[in-house]
């Protein structure tokens, strides 16, 4: 299955990988197709960041990044651009990933970053077949940063105070004797436990496990006239947060419920006319605190940052904890979530496709016409629920030194009486957010003909238009004209040529339409006579493709147009404070247009080898690819001097080269009743920015040219200075140099100017996307049993995670390993309590190697024999236990692959990523 049609598998010149819905269902109860695809498709790289119910989709790129603009692949569900989460896994028949130019060329401009085609199931002729699946999923938080308990944290603080005494003797007043430290760990009674808190925030905020459910029902069947596939899928994602009784009558927390229904019908109107309709609806409700938009971290921040000795979440008298000496030091996450109100965000989505497929054999044999029209509508309503803003609770803090109790609200501000907490929330009506609507229509002609048994010719031509609007924006338009022809000689040699004529609203009419071509060759070597003697070779193919695609997604609309504004008047009066305005209204140019702006060009090469040996025992593929992008649209023009006088317009000034390879190997062996199978694949990608219009006088290491896209930067260290003499010999910091203490890193003075400052922030490590991904799946089938394990690993990736111990004088100490001591001189530098060295003094300590190895999926299943199932009244019964993200080995303190969720700053955390265990049942009637 390639873009806009099917091709014979042998004749495919393009680099295409296909996976089925069955493989996605193995992924241990995940509900996001993006997460289920990870590892199963070489060339597809994902980065997960959060486990927020309903928003767990990872970011996806195909074959690495080759532009700093939008790198998202095009996702098509049944041929129309739709988000991946509009389809549930049980309705998916196949997922095809198109990677090189010849496969993506027919999608024109939208296909430059690769294409993911999701095809839903369709009915087949036969009796109604009913398939029901029930999954019960246990999920638990994956990994959160380890912190020391109060005793250890304060003991380490004591060590730090001693370490700093020479520079900050004031620290001595914060030193705590052992007796007091012991009270934190071994309190004598409740009063002491409340006065000396020792809170494990991870256990306090999160449950150890939560139960999610997923049930779906597929009914399909058909006669010669009508074939149908209908499905209904219900998903309930549970919340990992513990609920503390807020005594206000509502239950706080997160959650996600979704109901998807689908009906795919094929009507055979005449023997040569097929009319297909796909109707699907999705109704999803996401529960969260009121006003939650994704970047509010109040509910989970304490698990990442708060010290164990600040306060208890709730005291025995019902007051919530707070830190009176400095309220900004930490908020009480249990309280923030409890009185945060509730809001439901409802997404209602309807997608419809109508396709008419007409065979035109009466005109020419092998000719077929297809016309499609699709209408999609999505409505989003947010913030319906309970608004409990500004209704505070009673909060209390107990001073550990004196035992004195401080109440946040001593008396009511208005009446002067004691503070009374009331139930004062308001129901909130929802607000309708931007609704999205899409109209897509397409006309296509296909031709396939086998001439004289040796020459197989196919041709395809199509035209489509896309109109999309979101809310009240001016609708965006797109138009594509595409053709493809292939010629296969004697089932051995195939030549393919494609062309696409794409139009975009982003460019002036002179540059609006552009023609992009691509082509490929395929040689089935194993069908040659000289290969016939090699008995072990079942199939051996060599293919190559080259193509051009255009790209125009900048995020700025109409960059070619200058935009004017008619607004504002000058105050030219001379009396009064707000002097009188002139009657002349200003005309001003708000956006400088670039009439010469044109399509980004992507040039892709791909060379691949497919092989099958030993009667299906070994199968594999190897692909080598490059993607050279030129005329990349550059919006932030740092090459234009200020005297230009306006924000410089977008211009086609960038270019990037990217390349890599993919390797795939499948082994499959059956011995008597056993079957062993293995799927191994790996992907390697790298890129380099050739041109980014960097300012001329910037030193090379600060330019983005010559580096990878989004290269990580850091201050770098080489060794440690352990004595005062060595310290005096180290390069001076640009500020607070007198706060240095022995046993710290020598920072590299990269430009040799004798001082460490922003110019010594140099490229370090890799980028946020892994350069290498590896996947290994091992499976075994025996009679009715089947089992498999899947390991997924990445490396050559850098992620910044700044969890600093004792930062801003909080008492949080992270488990960072051992600290420096005279007997352990190579370990981490000690944290700082009162001294204030420059933030960069720890060098690359927080630029973690983001590589990991995961036991990504594992499953044990048993398929009951047909005889046994019939006794139970069903025609098929399968029971399985599988899991997702079961074990992860990495150097990072938390289990997030990327920082994009939440605020984007790793130390402000995110809803934790999860492990899943899934017990499921498949029933077929």
């Amino acid at each position: 299955m390639v873009g806009y049609g099917k091709q014979k598998k042998e004749g495919v010149v393009a680099s295409v990988t296909q996976t089925t819905g069955k493989v996605l269902e193995r992924a241990g109860g995940v509900s996001s197709i993006g997460a289920a695809l990870t590892g199963n498709v070489p060339g597809l790289i994902t980065n997960a960041s959060t486990g927020l119910p309903g928003a767990e989709d990872p970011q996806i790129i195909i074959r690495g990044r080759s532009t700093w603009n939008n790198s998202d692949p095009l996702i098509l569900v049944d041929g129309v651009e739709r988000p991946m989460n509009s389809v549930d896994i049980s309705s998916v028949e196949t997922v095809t990933v198109l990677k090189d130019a010849s496969a993506t060329a027919v999608f024109g401009s939208r296909g430059a970053n690769g294409v993911i085609l999701i095809t839903t199931k369709r009915g087949k002729t036969g009796k109604a077949s009913i398939r029901a699946t029930v999954n019960t999923i246990l999920k638990s938080p994956s990994k959160l940063p380890g912190k020391y308990d109060s005793f250890d944290a304060l003991r380490i603080r004591n060590d730090v105070i001693e370490y700093e005494l020479a520079t900050k003797p004031d620290g001595w007043r914060d030193y705590l004797p052992f007796d007091i430290l012991n009270k934190y760990r071994n309190p004598a009674d409740l009063a002491e436990a409340e006065r000396y808190p020792n809170v494990n925030w991870e256990e306090t905020l999160f449950k150890s496990h939560a139960w999610s459910n997923n049930a779906n029902l597929n009914i399909s069947g058909g006669t010669n006239t009508v074939k149908y596939f209908t499905s209904a899928d219900f998903l309930h994602e549970a919340d990992l947060f513990k609920t503390y009784n807020n005594k206000r009558g509502y239950e706080q927390g997160f959650g996600f419920d979704r109901l998807n229904v689908r009906s795919n019908l094929d009507f055979q109107l005449t023997p040569s006319t097929l009319f297909k309709t796909n109707l699907s609806g999705s109704y999803g409700v996401r529960k969260s605190p009121w006003g939650f938009s994704g970047s509010e971290y109040g509910s989970w921040i304490d698990a990442y940052n708060a010290a164990p000795d600040l306060f208890l979440p709730v005291y025995s008298d019902g007051s919530w904890g707070y830190y009176a000496p400095n309220e900004a030091r930490a908020e009480n996450s249990a309280r923030s979530l409890a009185i945060g109100g509730v809001s439901y965000q409802t997404t209602a989505r309807i997608t419809t496709d109508f396709t008419l497929d007409q065979e035109l054999d009466m005109i020419t044999k092998g000719l077929r016409f297809t016309g499609t029209i699709s209408l999609d509508n999505t409505f989003v309503e947010s913030d319906r629920g309970i608004n409990d803003l500004y209704n505070d609770t009673q909060r209390k803090w107990i001073n550990p030194e004196t035992g004195a109790v401080t109440y946040r609200q001593a008396i009511d501000g208005i009446t002067g009486f004691d503070f009374q907490e009331g139930i004062k929330w308001n129901p909130a009506a929802g607000t309708i957010g931007a609704s999205q609507r899409r109209l897509f229509y397409q006309l296509q002609l296909n031709y396939a003909k086998n001439i004289a048994g040796k020459h197989y010719v196919t041709g395809m031509g199509l035209m489509n238009r896309n109109v999309f609007a979101n809310g009240s924006m001016i609708p965006s338009y797109r138009e594509d004209w595409v053709f493809r022809t292939t010629y296969t000689y004697n089932n051995k040699y195939t030549v393919e040529y494609n062309g696409a004529y794409n139009g975009s609203e982003q460019f002036a009419s002179a540059y609006r339409f552009a023609f992009f071509q691509s082509g490929g060759l395929n040689w089935i070597v194993s069908n040659e006579n000289f290969m016939k003697s090699l008995k072990f070779v079942d199939q051996f193919k060599v293919r190559a493709s080259y193509g051009q695609t255009g790209f125009d997604n900048l995020g700025v609309r109409w960059p070619y147009l200058e935009q004017w504004n008619y607004n504002g008047r000058s105050r030219l009066g001379i009396s009064g404070e707000g002097a009188e305005q002139s009657p002349y209204t200003w005309y001003s140019q708000t956006v400088v247009g670039n009439p010469n702006v044109q399509w980004e060009q992507s040039e892709k090469y791909n060379v691949g080898v497919d092989f099958e040996f030993l009667k299906g025992f070994i199968k594999g593929k190897a692909d080598f690819f490059t993607d050279n992008r030129s005329k990349i649209l550059l919006a932030n023009r740092s090459d234009v001097p200020t005297y230009f006088g306006a924000t410089p317009p977008v211009a086609n000034l960038g270019s990037v080269k990217s390349s890599g390879y993919e390797l795939e190997l499948h082994l499959n062996k059956s011995v008597r009743n056993f079957r062993f199978w293995t799927d191994l694949n790996m992907t390697h990608t790298q890129n380099k920015i050739i041109d980014a219009a960097n300012p001329e006088l910037l030193p090379d290491y600060q330019k983005s040219e010559g580096m990878q896209i989004n290269q990580a930067y850091s201050y770098v260290s080489r060794g440690m200075y352990n004595t005062w003499d060595q310290l005096y010999g180290s390069a001076a910091h640009n500020a607070n140099d007198n706060q240095k203490l022995p046993s710290n890193y020598y920072l590299v003075d990269y430009n040799g100017d004798g001082i460490i400052d922003a110019r010594d922030n140099i490229p370090y490590g890799y980028t946020g996307w892994p350069a290498n991904t590896y996947n290994a799946t091992f499976g075994i089938d025996w009679k009715g049993f089947s089992a498999f394990v899947q390991f997924y690993a990445v490396n050559n990736v850098t992620r910044q995670v700044e969890f600093r111990s004792l930062s801003s004088q909080s008492h949080t100490v992270y488990q960072e390993g051992e600290y420096w001591s005279p007997t352990n001189t190579g370990a981490n530098p000690m944290p700082r309590w009162l001294t204030t060295p420059q933030g960069y003094y720890r060098g690359t300590q927080y630029m973690y190697d983001g590589s990991y190895v995961r036991l990504k999926n594992a499953e044990i299943a048993y398929n009951f024999t047909p005889e046994f199932s019939r006794k139970l009244g069903v025609s098929g019964l399968r029971i399985y236990l599988n899991g997702n993200n079961l074990i992860a080995w990495s150097k990072m303190p938390d289990d997030r692959e990327s920082n994009f969720a939440g605020t984007g700053w790793a130390s402000q955390g995110a809803y934790p990523t999860v492990k899943r265990f899934n017990l499921g049942l498949n029933l077929t009637f």
């Binding site: 005449t270 139009g503 002139s582 001003s588 010469n596 005297y643």
Partner: protein, 297 residues
């Protein structure tokens, strides 16, 4: 049945042809959604509206923040308590301190992050809006021919104001930064810009030319013009001949000073030529000052 299908095919084919004919326009932005640049220059009212935004690009030098500083590089002590104003930074030798990324409180009027042409005195800065104003003045001068629906007097008023402001903003920059590139056309956005830095004297000459031409075109009192009758009695702040001549003279004075003379390649003495020009101007300037009675409010 075959007939029905043939009919279907014809219908579809026809609809395709309709589609083809409206290809290019399909992707055009709806013209009714655009404010056209052609509107700005077609008559006096619109063009004056275009020009008047230049008045709002001037920062309030003495009242740009809660506390202010403008006497830089002399013996005044602004405050002993705080150090964020530029005049304190200059006293400490931090000559880069005027730039927006070194001005944490955004207290200076020279360069700020947030620049708007509205009424907010906290949102104005010379470096932030001056180049925008110069670009605007050049845009206006490039399109002055489009002003067809206007009298010669009105055209002179517009051109005079645009020339004055072009000279004025360059003059203000010159005072602080010395020689600059003198921008006298609208710069293109997609080419490399490598304008040379002129000497102070060259910039001063160009500014002088602009001020002189502006003075020739502008009236000494807008109330005496036909176009000015629309805003009768409220024209005191609009640019007129007096202001242009005043700045012309100031420009010559500055250019003739020993500091500016030395950075222009001369010696550290007064430049006789510029001083002579200033003198001639003064002699011709006094009559105007006498004749027109300006009320000092």
């Amino acid at each position: 049945m075959i007939k029905k299908i043939k009919l279907l095919f014809v219908a579809v084919g026809l609809s395709m042809t309709f589609g083809i004919t409206s290809c290019k326009d399909f992707l055009d932005r709806d013209p009714q959604s655009l404010v056209s640049d052609k509107d700005a220059f077609k008559n006096f009212v619109n063009f004056q509206g275009f020009t008047e935004e230049l008045y709002h690009c001037i920062p309030d030098f003495t009242n740009a923040y809660w506390t202010n500083s403008w006497n830089w590089g002399e013996d005044e002590i602004q405050s002993t308590a705080q150090t964020f104003h530029f005049c304190v930074k200059i006293d400490n030798g931090d000559f880069w301190g005027w730039q927006r990324n070194f001005d944490g409180w955004q207290a200076g009027w020279m360069d700020r992050n947030n620049n708007q042409t509205n009424d907010d005195r906290f949102a104005k800065s010379l470096w932030g809006l001056g180049w925008y104003a110069i670009r605007k003045a050049n845009m206006g001068l490039a399109n002055i021919d489009k002003l067809t629906d206007a009298t010669q007097e009105e055209k002179n008023l517009i051109k005079g104001q645009l020339l004055f402001f072009r000279g004025w903003y360059h003059f203000m920059f010159m005072q602080y930064f010395g020689g600059l590139p003198y921008i006298d056309k609208v710069l293109p956005g997609d080419q490399k810009l490598t304008l040379p830095r002129l000497k102070y004297s060259e910039c001063a000459d160009k500014a002088a030319a602009d001020f002189r031409e502006a003075a020739n075109l502008l009236p000494s009192n807008w109330d005496n013009t036909t176009a000015g009758k629309r805003t009768l009695g409220k024209n005191q702040l609009r640019i007129n001949k007096i202001m242009a001549l005043g700045y012309l003279g100031k420009n010559y004075l500055w250019a003739g000073s020993p500091l500016m003379n030395s950075v222009s390649g001369g010696s550290r003495t007064y430049n006789a030529e510029y001083c002579k020009k200033q003198q001639t101007l003064l002699l011709n300037y006094y009559p105007y000052v006498k004749v027109v009675k300006h009320r000092i409010a």
